[in-house]
Symmetry: C2
Subunit: 378 residues, 2 copies
């Protein structure tokens, strides 16, 4: 029967990272538990919601863990409840011991807490992913790419494939991440330093956001492994599994136009603030839009929501070139697109009032492009 003692703050940190895969309201009750497996070389914590699974390994070699293993074993405990209990313990060290079948005694300071656990045999097995020939990426690059694309994926289940981010590697080095909900699109491209096998997968955008939350910035690189139905992100001590979305991702390249009639360069923050004001008024009307007018080098924004009021605002613009134009769109899409841009300025290019317009960062026009579809307002 399992027995170990461990440093409480480090244990809590590992429990909380693992808990990100656990939903307390899972339709499968066993998935609200956390699996604790003790072997001679360390403790493995496992959490899963059926879509993503996290394995977190605490090694006896990790000095901060203060891990002393007396006896191996495994048990399931209600994740949220157990984490609250551990976090309430008075001392910096926790003694964890199975005293009867699935009965865990926690000792810390003068406090003794007995918890009822469950048999690990009931826990589902995580499908294995073959761990050979990894794609190695900097965590920072990967998290950046996620923050630039995942928000543009659909949240509607009507076309499940659009709830994902399309990740494609061609020519063994050209990496492309793209997401679209059919109203807007965001695409980041980059060139890998080392050649690797091509791939073409669609990952749930939700999984990617969890990835960013689980892997802290201290983790410098992650290894990525592919299987037909899953993808595994792996660092030193964390294995993060996510299922892939099935189906064919739509061809988004055909949406990218090469020509444009009007180009305007804005300060990113100032355009975003103006759109946030516009949104407050447009949002009062169903499907409310903002109208952008470009006339003689001036850009102005207009909203009219008959029930609550209107906005008229002359926008600060760094440069305007090309034809005059009037175009209407949902300001939310522009606000979210600008949030994803880290550059100080943004280049916006228009072809016509009924064709999508593009946004590219002022300092890098080739590798990151976003696209927003206008709304026709007769």
């Amino acid at each position: 029967m399992l027995k170990f003692s461990i440093n409480k703050p480090l244990f809590l940190q590992a429990l909380n990272a693992t808990k990100r895969a656990i939903s307390s309201k899972n339709a499968i009750p066993i998935l609200s538990t956390i699996k604790i497996e003790v072997a001679a070389n360390g403790v493995t914590l496992t959490g899963s919601n059926g879509q993503i699974s996290i394995e977190n390994f605490i090694s006896v070699a990790n000095e901060n863990a203060g891990l002393l293993i007396t006896s191996p074993g495994a048990v399931l405990l209600e994740a949220s409840f157990f984490i609250n209990i551990v976090s309430s313990l008075p001392d910096v060290t926790v003694d964890f011991e199975e005293i009867e079948q699935h009965q865990i005694l926690l000792k810390s300071g003068k406090s003794e807490i007995t918890l009822k656990g469950k048999d690990v045999d009931h826990y589902p097995r995580i499908q294995e992913v073959s761990t050979s020939n990894p794609l190695v990426m900097e965590t920072k690059v990967l998290k950046n790419l996620i923050s630039e694309t995942a928000f543009a994926a659909s949240t509607q289940e009507s076309r499940p494939i659009l709830t994902g981010v399309h990740l494609v590697l061609t020519n063994n080095k050209d990496f492309k991440a793209v997401a679209t909900d059919s109203h807007r699109m965001s695409q980041r491209q980059l060139t890998l330093e080392n050649m690797t096998d091509n791939f073409d997968v669609v990952l749930p955008s939700k999984s990617l956001r969890e990835f960013s939350a689980v892997f802290s910035d201290e983790v410098e690189t992650v290894e990525i492994f592919f299987s037909p139905s899953q993808l595994l992100f792996r660092s030193d001590h964390i294995s993060f599994y996510t299922r892939l979305l099935e189906g064919t991702y739509p061809d988004t390249d055909r949406l990218l136009m090469s020509n444009f009639e009007t180009e305007a360069i804005f300060n990113t923050q100032s355009l975003r603030s103006a759109m946030e004001r516009a949104f407050l008024i447009s949002n009062a009307t169903q499907n409310g839009t903002v109208k952008l007018e470009i006339t003689n080098g001036q850009v102005s924004a207009h909203v009219n929501s008959p029930e609550v009021g209107k906005v008229n605002e002359e926008l600060d613009v760094n440069a305007v070139e090309g034809a005059d134009l009037t175009i209407s769109f949902n300001p939310t899409y522009l606000i979210e697109a600008l949030k994803a841009l880290k550059s100080e300025t943004v280049v916006v290019r228009f072809l016509s009032p009924v064709r999508p317009f593009t946004l590219t960062p002022g300092n890098d026009s080739e590798n990151f492009i976003q696209l927003i579809t206008p709304v026709r307002t007769n």
Copy 2:
């Protein structure tokens, strides 16, 4: 038609303080608006939910307000919506102008926003409170007294009078505040420096909590005025009205016992942590309790929730005197009582397992007393 310009940060601060009286989901739709009244000497903002009302006056004499009044008038605007709009404005100055009947034009920087308002004639009148002969109290003292008592009031409407805090002045100087939900009681007494008229009122504990949020610590003193149905707290620029609760408050003095059999002195924080651990387990059972055992100068806490587990803990105790005792109670009441105590140590006195026990701060046993009713087990 009204017109003024004002400093945006100060305007926002005043709007947000006034909004504390406004509920966006009020059954009376007009109460979701904020009233803006402009006179030659300043702007008055008014918000109300029918229970509490706040009037916030911004004077032209206030240099931080940058208030320039061109024309007086009054209008009602949707409070939350208007505050969001003001907070989104680009410049540090806001120009506010009624351009048509109840149509407000806000100008700030290059932004122009038009809002639809409502006629002030529809706004209910706040009942006046005669402002003579005030009771003057330090804001800090009043807020302290609220934090020591209001939490103990009932949240159940079954006995409305118990949702209030009983404030009584006797002998023109002996001030007592007491709240009870019939399971626990908290009472603070203090002696006023200046003699004043006796009073006996019951204030909704909710109103008192709002009072603490509205009056910042920079406000040194408040004046208090009484009317048969209302109470007015007034500072330099804020008038805070609250209705009184009707009915007779129960006699709580009879609950205070003078004798006890057992006394234990604890470190407040350490007892609270132990009770928080106990609560995690007791909370898994309906009406779960913690059992305190005092034996031979040792104090231990025990919880048994058959479904999830149990706690056994020896408590750190500074001193124990008197008879051995075993008593059970809801740990929530003790946790909340200890939160209200600012002293490092707490004196707990027991008479018997079926009689309420008292808590007093280690440094002040006469003026602040709390009482918790035990639960009879088997």
